[in-house]
Symmetry: C2
Subunit: 102 residues, 2 copies
Amino acid sequence: ATPAADEAGAAAVDEASARPAKAGLCVACHGQYGVSGLPGHPHIAGQDETYLRESMLRYRSGERPHAPMKAVVGGLSDADIAALARYYAQLPRDGLGPREKQ
Amino acid sequence: ATPAADEAGAAAVDEASARPAKAGLCVACHGQYGVSGLPGHPHIAGQDETYLRESMLRYRSGERPHAPMKAVVGGLSDADIAALARYYAQLPRDGLGPREKQ
């Protein structure tokens, strides 16, 4: 790959792994890094990105009825939702959070 | 722990990790061991057991509208659903399936 492509790739990785400001909305139920400590609340770390995005869109539209999630995502934009889905999808499934880059 | 408790514990682990016959219904969308290869289909390996059980119950009742999942779980009993939830919840999140017992 050309240096420019590497740079773009690195930026994409950093950009994807950068924690969106709105991730703070998710921590109470889904844990600091996407593994929930609360029975009945799904783990979202390492979940499928499309599934996460579509779930949040369905909560927002009400197609998937869930009052607490509607309250959280109701005010989010499509871009917010896409960024949150991308961020949580790339988190390690063990819930220990992003690894330092080697 | 007493030998009897150990035995019960071991049986519980074996019983929990034994693959329910009806898990075959899940593989097409959720992968051989609960990590899906299909965008938009959630990973279920290592997911929260209560969330898995409640999701399947809601698909079955229609409270959570989803035709394909309704078709799959519509004929399952509460016991079937509980066994599937327990099985997938204890699977490793990496999707490589149960480890051989040391």
